[in-house]
Point group: C2
DNA sequence: GCAAGATACCCAAACGTTTGGCCCAATCGT
DNA sequence: ACGATTGGGCCAAACGTTTGGGTATCTTGC
């Protein structure tokens, strides 16, 4: 099976150099700043040289076993096939690599049972800490996990009482409202995402608050929950548009994919997004700018969120304080909402 | 930091039961079918009970160190934020979990240097095997890796001489051509993807071959390479449409996202996809059906590809034969290509 | 009643590190 | 010249498993 994979060990290096394995170990770890050096600089050089030559790579299992630290972090996301979380994870991974950490990632589909099972699985793998990208406003998993003394942070979504890195979602919602109000819109519909996700909740709340400041209210039947994907957006839009009475002139979806699905639903009714009805999405997915009708969206720093999330976790692991962070979103206006409401 | 995380070990169980640690170990592994039992059934029951009660989880580092097997597989993909590969990875992970394996995944951005570095990183982590989702037709990394005796399989893309699970891409290309030819189209453009990816190469080849069978040829300046995302598709479409002479009546993009970008470019020129020019994509991404103009696409079994890929790898790890597989694509017709060319 | 199997365990080594101590020789201070 | 320091390195234990080999005790066949 493995014709030639004789892994190089410390002992091999030691034997070949006539040194003790502990000396080699110390030499390879010795930071120059250390007071008491592990060996003479000449010996250290010899050791380093041989290690490079033979391509020595420390066995991480042995190291973890000995040090009781795995340098592994577990990441839980609803789905990796959701571009938003995939991008957040890319940020996490990038930051992790910079710190010499590796990451396990797994899908939980936003199902509490799966979340719990995967959390256990991660702990069984002896991760040093966890990053939840799928925190639910309801549910007790986070509290229990915290009670067990497991270090973790949340990204993308937040839950009171736990460290998190999120987009300033209320602000994002406000920006969307401000933009549409500025164009003269007064009749809105909101596709609000899943009811258990703080992202959807906060974006919707911010939107409604800003509307209220201008004396505009959005009737409850114009605010519908939805999955965070295109199909969810289409279905939600269908539900909203099926209600009787005057149609909205603008639609805010808390997620770009939901917005895309909604645009499909609009088209099916002969409404042209951007002409007959304004549409604003959220996240400013790379796709948004390239769509046939480019989508106005609130850009959220997804990648950055991941990086900060991991940085917070390492701070937590080091016993340092790790205050939650909220990253600012920015409005990006495109053709799907660049004109006032019709007549 | 860790208030209460006293990990349960074999020794704890053993001590508490007055048994030897090896007895406990055997008892917990004993498959009923084993001939020589590890202990009396009463003892085994006692052990199992206590293990459950205390929530014993074997330390994977200790196990890996001892058995020289990590039960880890490394997965390399161009980008996880590419929905196609993210979905393939979901399949891999699902199959891995079923086998008690865990997966590391990492982005290589299709850059040879990064691919090499990440391969090393995976091996340093002592993965049992690798799955490449980013194999390049050029380059020597695969050959070198094989020469080192590292077990691996390819998914999504193939390279001669290595085990792989792919979509039958030539067939998919043919299906696209057949569909468009059947509608009466004769003037084609092809957005062919990256030149080093077998997916793009094979899909394009299949398409052209099928055309040739009907005596239709696609001029070289109508076949353009592109990145596998919306922006790449838009740019490629712009290039194709900027060429002088009569415009094509149908466009085949080897990837849904490229197709979406292309539709944007068409719109910018006042061409209506589905009306003025037929568009066919590839992969049948969930988005395709929900777009404002639903996209005809060749459905590829992305999830399944991942599962099979992992299954092949485990077969390889078990020393069994692991022949390459090619999964069948299917055509899904939608509004972007459901009518004959204009006059 | 006794050799031959089973049965039910225990022993100990090994996987590759890390790390607190220890030891020897050379250097230093005075 | 001699005790103290220090530089350079060795020793051994430990992390938690797995596993090839024991060794008593109990059956069993005859």
């Amino acid at each position: 099976m493995d014709p030639q994979r004789p892994q190089v060990t410390l002992r091999m290096l030691a034997d070949r150099l006539g040194l003790h394995v502990s000396t080699v170990s110390r030499a390879l770890h010795a930071k120059p700043e250390e007071g008491r050096r592990a060996a003479s600089s000449a010996t250290i050089a010899r050791i380093r040289e041989l290690a490079d030559e033979l391509g020595y790579q420390p066995n991480p299992h042995a190291t973890s076993l000995r040090t009781q630290r795995s340098n592994l972090v577990g990441v839980l996301v609803p789905r990796l096939s959701d571009l938003v979380l995939a991008t957040v994870y890319e940020g996490i991974q990038e930051a992790a690599r910079a710190q010499g950490l590796s990451t396990f990632v797994t899908n939980t589909k936003d199902e509490p049972d799966t979340q719990r099972a995967q959390t256990e699985m991660m702990l069984a793998r002896r991760v040093d800490g966890l990053i939840f990208g799928d925190a639910r406003a309801d549910g007790a998993l986070l509290a229990e996990t915290a009670a067990r003394g497991v270090p973790f942070v949340l990204v993308s979504r937040h839950v009171a009482g736990h460290t998190s890195v999120t987009c300033d979602d209320p602000l994002g919602g406000r920006q969307a409202a401000e933009h549409l109000l500025g164009l003269g819109h007064r009749d809105f519909a909101v596709i609000a995402g899943e009811p258990y996700a703080s992202t959807g909740i906060d974006r919707t709340r911010g939107f409604l608050e800003r509307c209220a400041e201008d004396g505009v209210t959005v009737p409850p039947d114009r605010i519908v929950h939805s999955a965070f994907d295109a199909r969810g957006g289409r279905e939600a839009a269908d539900r909203v548009l099926d209600t009787s009475g005057p149609q909205p002139t603008a639609l805010f979806a808390v997620n770009d994919f939901a917005a895309i699905g909604a645009m499909g639903a609009l088209r099916d009714r002969g409404l042209s997004p951007g002409q007959d009805i304004a549409v604003v999405g959220f996240n400013d997915t790379p796709l948004a700018a390239e769509l046939p009708i480019p989508l106005t969206s609130i850009r959220s720093p997804m990648h950055e969120m991941g990086r900060r999330g991991l940085d917070l976790l390492t701070r937590l692991l080091a016993g340092e304080p790790a205050p939650s962070e909220r990253l600012a979103p920015t409005l990006v206006v495109r053709a799907s909402s660049d004109r006032p409401p019709r007549s």
